[in-house]
Every structure is written in C-alpha cells, then in structure tokens.
C-alpha cells in the first residue's frame, strides 16, 4: 500500500513536471503578462480564465485512471485561477474544469465536478482575504499561500468525494489510495507554479527599474552640456557619456555634414571631422526618421574599413527648433553582439534630450542677445542729450579757460571711448570708476555749485569685477532723475561699504525721488538692464537694491560676490 502510494505520488509529480514545463514556456509569451500585473480589466480576466481552465482540463486528461476514478492535478488550475482572479473567476474556472471532468464519467464524476468548482472558490476566497488584509499585491504571489490554499482545497475535495460518491465503500477505498499523493502533489505543484510566476515578475521589475535608472542617469549627465549650441567639444563629451552609460560598442555624433565625435570600438578608423559616409546616416538625415540596421537582415557596412568590428547601427536624427534635422546620434554594436531593445529606445530618448537642450540654449542665447541689444539702445539713448550739453559747456568754457576746456574735451573723449568700445562682458571697478569720473567731471562743470560730488571707495574694491556699464548708468540716473530736479544743491555720493560681510557699492543722491517703474519704460530701462546683467553675472540674490526715503535720499546698491580665491 505504501509502495503504491509512493508510485502514485511519483507519477503525479511527473504530471506536474509536464505542467510546469508548459507553464515555463508560456511564461516566455505575452500571454503570461496579465499574471504579473494583476490588472482587473476584461482582457486580463479573460486570459486568466482561459489559461487556468486550460490547466484544469489538462490536469483531468493527464490524470491516472484508478478504480473508475482519476488521480489528477486539476486542483492547481482551479486554486491558482481563484487566487489570481478572485472568487467569481475562481468559481468559473473551477466550474469549467468540473464540467469537463463530469463528462469524463466515472463514479466520482459529480463529486469531482462539485469539488473542483469549490476549489476555485477557495482560491478566490484567499484572494479576497489577502486583498482585505493588506494592500500589497506581493502577498498574492506567495508560494506558501498557494501551498496552503491548495492543501485546504484538496482536503475539501477528498471529503466531498466521501460525502457524494456512491457507493461509499468504493469511495473510501479510493480516497485511502489517492488522498495523500494528490494533496501533496497538488500543493507542492501550486507552490512551484507560483514561485515561477513570482520570479518572472521580479525579473521584469528589476529589468525595468535598471533601464529607467540608466535612462535617468544618462539624462542627468547630459543636462547643460549643449548650453552653448551644437559645438564639437560638447559632442565629444556627450558621446563619452552615452558610451559609458549604455554600454554599446560605439557611439557617434554627427551634424548634417560631418562626424563630430566618435567613441568606442573602431575608433582607429572612425575619426571625428570626417564627412558622413554611411548610407544609413544619409537616410536618417534626408528622410528625418530613425534608421536601424540590425546586422542580420540589413548589415551595417563600414565604408572606410573592411575589418571594422561594428555590425549593427542605430541612427537617430536630432531635430532642431523647426523639426528639421540638425544632426544624428548613432549607436553601434559589434558583429558579435545583439542590439538590445532597450538601447534602441534609449537612442531615441537621447536624441530628444539633446534637441530639447539645444532649444533651451537657443532661447537663452536669444535672451542674451536681447539684453545686449537693450544695452546698446540704452547707450545710444543716453548719449545725445548728454553730448550736446557737454559740447555746450565746452563751448562756454573755451574762451574763458582754455586748459579747462582741454580737460573737458579729454574727459568727453574718454567717456565716449569707454562707452562706445565696450565689447567685453565684465570690467574692473577701477575701470568703471574711470568711466564714471569722466562723466562726472563734465556734469560738475555743467552744473557748477549746483552739484556736489563725493567719492569714497575702499582700495580693496578696485580689482573686483562687475558687468560692464554698471556704475555709470546708476550715477547718470541719480543726476538725471534725482538731483537735476532739486532747486537746492544736489549731492551725489559714491561709496563702498560692508553690509553683513557683503561688499557693496552705493550710489546715493539727496533727492529721494526714486519711484519704482511700473514697467520697463525708457526711464526705467537703464536700471532694468543693470539689474538684469547683475543677476545674470552673479545670480538672483545679487539683484540691484534700492533704498529710498522720499525727499531725503535714494541709495542704489550693488552687492558684489565674495572672491573665489578667498
């Protein structure tokens, strides 16, 4: 008896092995996907129903005929169907399996049909119980739970056979023989089955998280590289990053004419600076689409060397602001390696990130040009008024005091030279002061005793850097919109100070007439440009500050960043 028990167990295990092999093969197909994500949508439910009903039916067919009954592994299908699909689906799967068993006949046909349906329900109840108890789906994939559920379901089946199958003696004899092997084989089988699904699921998770990490890392490293447009040295940096992160055999970046950068296998004969030669790249550029030479049906043919180790290539066009092709990103794999699907997706993503960055840099450049244009406009706007007044002053002085007139002309020449010939972005405080002083000398002579100028700037400020054309517009504003409106004497003071450890330059007048401009009108334009340039040069926290006490004073404050070498 024990021996026959054991041989029955063995043959059930054999059946189970066939099941598991089928399940394993299925797990390689998309039909398996619904089991790993458990979405409650109809196509999913249908897949689960068909899959596990199929297992039920197969279990009955594979079963061993014993005394007009069948020792089988049907329970695995029903219980797992319930576990994955819930009570309703479990019942349906069990019922399908049960009906099939019923039509196979035998004295246990009714008992088996009823019990298989109930087994599906048991699986479904477990599903419900896990869902209620915890929100975490992971427990649904526990092999232990599958084992316990099947154990309970099979025990139930044995009891039902004893209850329903007639004659009772025959049923009892059958159960004595099959109970232990069936309960054991089904429970272990269900657990193994579940283990396989769980592993499959974990593999998916791991793989997708690995590739998203890769993609994120790539994107992060590429940020800011192309902030000055599509330049060769940036292309080399990008190619290196892509090569490191994707692990493909080689990476190339081209514009529409030539190769800008090449990194990786075959770099001995692929050189940056060469004109584009591959057919695929031409196709990608001319047709504005992704071109893939998989190396099997369509081989990548290197045009410069027969011994080139590269066998497949992916060419993704980089699109400019008007969706036109401005270059390509090329990924290669060697003849010995297959092109990974994920690298294809990454390649397309990379081209998008580069295009996005180029678009950003374009916008930034436009903005900078605009600021420069505004700056030029501001200079042009200031000049005539001041210029004619200065000339008038000189013409008044020239007869009276020739040397003073000569000095004024020298000041005016210096002022104009600095004003007109400034191309560099930043200058020293000392140079800015030179500009201011040339301007102030002329104004001083113009207004005579109506204007008093004081200057007190610490020597240590002289070598600090400022955006060009920062100080003079502020001083000019202080006179034009400040002291010039005073009936009494105007006072302009330019001084340096330390405010909470921050070095500051202050232009102060005694008029206190500053009003925050509503918008960037011509009056506010000078200040606005100075403010924008300070922010651009030093950061948002170095914006121009204005303190104003009506009819008392206006202080315009420039904060300077700490020097990097201190």
């Amino acid at each position: 008896m024990i021996l026959s028990d054991f041989s029955l167990l063995l043959s059930l295990a054999q059946q189970m092995s066939v099941f598991l092999v089928i399940a394993y093969l299925l797990s390689k197909t998309p039909a398996f996907l619904p089991l790993t994500n458990l979405s409650p949508r109809l196509p999913n439910t249908l897949t689960i129903y068909c899959l596990f009903s199929g297992f039920c039916i197969l279990g009955s067919y594979f079963g061993l005929a014993i005394d007009d009954a069948i020792a089988n592994t049907r329970a695995v299908g029903a219980v797992l169907g319930g576990l994955f699909g819930g009570p309703v689906l479990g019942l349906l799967v069990g019922f399908t399996g049960g009906m099939h068993r019923y039509f196979m006949g035998g004295f246990t046909d009714v008992a088996c049909a009823v019990s298989t349906t109930l087994e599906g329900l048991v699986g479904g109840l477990f599903h419900l119980w896990i869902r209620r108890r915890s929100l975490h789906n992971e427990h649904l994939f526990s092999p232990t739970i599958a084992f316990v559920a099947t154990l309970i379901a099979e025990t139930l089946q044995m009891l039902l056979i004893l209850l329903i199958a007639k004659p009772f003696e025959q049923a009892l004899a059958l159960v004595e023989v099959i109970a232990l092997p069936m309960v054991l084989a089904n429970s272990v089988g269900a657990a193994l089955f579940m283990m396989m699904i769980r592993d499959r699921r974990r593999l998916y998770d791991k793989f997708s998280s690995h590739s998203s990490a890769k993609a994120l890392n790539l994107a992060q490293r590429m940020v800011g590289v192309f902030h000055q447009g599509f330049k060769q040295q940036d292309a080399v940096r990008i190619a290196n990053i892509i090569h490191e992160e994707t692990g493909v055999s080689a990476v190339a970046i081209t514009d529409t004419q030539q190769v800008l950068a090449f990194k990786g296998m075959g770099s001995d004969h692929h050189h940056a600076g060469r004109p584009i030669s591959s057919k695929q790249t031409y196709q990608a550029i001319n047709e504005n689409r992704v071109v893939f030479a998989d190396g099997v049906e369509e081989p990548y043919q290197c045009s410069s060397s027969d011994k080139c180790p590269l066998g497949s290539s992916l060419v993704v066009p980089i699109r400019g602001s008007e969706n036109d092709v401005i270059g390509t990103v090329k990924l290669y794999e060697s003849k010995r390696r297959l092109f990974l699907h994920i690298n294809r997706a990454l390649g397309e993503g990379i081209a998008k990130v580069i295009a996005e960055q180029l678009r950003d840099s374009h916008v930034q450049q436009q903005q900078q040009l605009l600021t420069e244009a505004e700056l030029k406009l501001a200079r042009a706007q200031i000049n005539p008024h001041f210029l004619f007044n200065a000339l008038n002053t000189i013409s008044a002085v020239v007869k009276r005091d020739a040397s003073s007139a000569r000095q004024l002309i020298a000041d005016l020449a210096l002022f104009l030279r600095i004003n007109l010939k400034r191309n560099q972005q930043s200058s020293l405080v000392s140079v800015e002061l030179e500009h201011v002083n040339a301007y102030l000398h002329i104004e001083q002579v113009r207004f005579a005793d109506r204007l008093v100028i004081k200057q007190d700037i610490d020597e240590s400020f002289m070598h600090l850097e400022l955006p060009t054309f920062t100080l003079q517009p502020l001083v000019e504003n202080a006179i034009k919109h400040g002291t010039a409106h005073l009936l009494e004497t105007g006072k302009i003071t330019i001084y340096s100070r330390l405010n909470n450890g921050v070095k500051q330059l202050v232009v102060e007048d005694n008029a206190g007439l500053y009003q925050k401009p509503e918008q960037a009108t011509s009056e506010g334009l000078g200040m606005h440009i100075v403010d924008t340039r300070l922010r651009n040069a030093f950061g948002a926290s170095f914006a121009l500050q204005v303190e104003c006490q009506l009819n008392q004073y206006t202080r315009v404050i420039i904060s300077l960043p700490k020097e990097p070498n201190q």
Partner: protein
C-alpha cells in the same frame, strides 16, 4: 529789447549772455537758474524776450511759458540741448528755438526775427495766425504745480491740493488745507490752465473742495470749502457751478 536768460547751468547762461553782448539791441536785464525765480521777478522786470532752457528742476521751460499771462507775454526763445518735443512743438512757429551749443550766426537770425515780430505779437494778439499753433498748445496745456512764495521760501503746490484761489489788493493767493500762499500767477492764467472754476470776479474754486452751497436771496450763493472758508458766488458765474453739479 529787455531780455531775461533762464537756464539751470551757469556756464550756459554766461555763454549766451556773452554772445548777446555783440547785439546791442538786446539788453540782458537778468539771469535766473530756474523757472520759479524767473516767475517771481518777471512782472517787475518788464522783459520783452525770454531765453528759456527747457530741462530745468521742478518747473520746465515749457511749463514756465505756460504760466505767463498771455495778455502781455514776452516773446519766448527756447534754448535747448536736444529735445524732440521742442522741435515738434515749434516747427511751424514764429517764436524761435535755438539748439545748444548755440551757433552765433543762428543767434543773429533769431534776433533779426525777434526784431521783426516783436511789435506784431503785441499788436495782433487776438488774431495772430502765425502764432496760432503755439498759442493753442499753450492754452491746452494744463498746469501741474503752482509756485508760491511763503516768507523766504518757495512752495510748489499741486493743483489738486488747492481749495480756492483769490485775488485782493496784495496779489493772488492760493488756499490749501494747510494755509494760504502768495503766487505770481494771475487768476486768468489759473482759470485758463487748470480745472479751477470761477465763482466770482475775485475767486476761483476747486469744485472737489466744495462741501456746501448756501443759496442767497439775491440769486447768488455762498460756498463753504472743506476747511470751512466762505466764498461768494456772483450771479454771473453761478450758472456754471450749477451746471457742474447738475443742479
């Protein structure tokens, strides 16, 4: 011709005076550094020509021109460094403008023009077609600040702060919530170039400052201002006030 130079730059004034010395027909009787000083002495100096800078503190040359009573206004020559507005405004005008630095030949022409036109300005004030655009421009332009003299100081009163303006033997006074000040402007100028409404031969009132109107038996009325002062309303001007309030 008696001339006054108004410019906030001392060198510019001296320069112009020096250039005018070679024209014996012009006698510079005074120089002022701003419009307010000029206005203060304008009447007693009886100048016939004003050389006016445009950009000056508080009250610009254009505003000064606007404040002068057109009945016996001197001829005005603007002297400016660069001002598109001045160019536009006086393009077709008999009154001249000069650009700084002043060209001496251009100044000669200007003086010749002044000599020719000065008598005609006074004679044909009412229907001088040559001055039409300039006159309408001045008329349409509103005053912004009223320069007033208070002891030794100058106060610039904003139009909206004025409750009423009145003339008596000592001159014209503008009254605000904080007191009354003397001004050189005439009631006629104030009436023409501000929203102040005439209620009596000797009084203008800011309608915003009226708190009460008390009707009198003789068809006239008495106005009470917010600071509690009384102003008589003559029958002749009552109609306009009634109209304003829709009475």
């Amino acid at each position: 011709m008696r001339a006054i130079i108004v410019d906030d730059e001392p060198l510019a004034r001296e320069e112009l005076q020096e250039m005018l010395q070679s024209h014996p027909e012009i006698e510079v009787v005074a120089q002022f550094g701003n419009a307010i000083e000029c206005l203060k002495h304008l009447k007693q100096l009886q100048a016939e020509v004003l050389f006016l800078d445009i950009e000056m503190p508080q009250i610009s040359g254009l505003e000064l021109a606007n404040m002068i009573d057109s009945d016996n206004a001197p001829a005005i020559v603007f002297v400016t460094a660069y001002d598109q507005f001045a160019l536009d405004a006086f393009e077709q005008n008999a009154v001249d403008y000069l650009l700084k630095p002043i060209d001496s030949e251009r100044l000669c022409k200007s003086i010749k023009r002044l000599k020719e036109r000065l008598p005609s300005i006074k004679q044909t004030e009412a229907d001088a077609p040559a001055n039409h655009s300039y006159q309408t421009m001045l008329k349409e332009q509103q005053l912004r600040l009223i320069p007033c003299y208070y002891q030794q100081r100058v106060k610039l009163i904003r139009l909206e702060d004025i409750e009423h303006a009145s003339s008596d033997l000592s001159g014209v006074h503008v009254a605000t919530e904080n007191g009354s000040y003397h001004t050189q402007l005439t009631l006629k100028v104030l009436e023409d170039k501000s929203p102040l409404l005439r209620c009596h031969r000797q009084h203008l009132v800011n309608v915003e400052a009226i708190s009460e109107i008390s009707l009198e038996d003789n068809g006239g009325a008495v106005l009470f201002t917010k600071s509690g002062e009384q102003l008589p309303v003559s029958r002749r001007y009552f109609k306009a006030i009634k109209e304003h309030f829709g009475l």
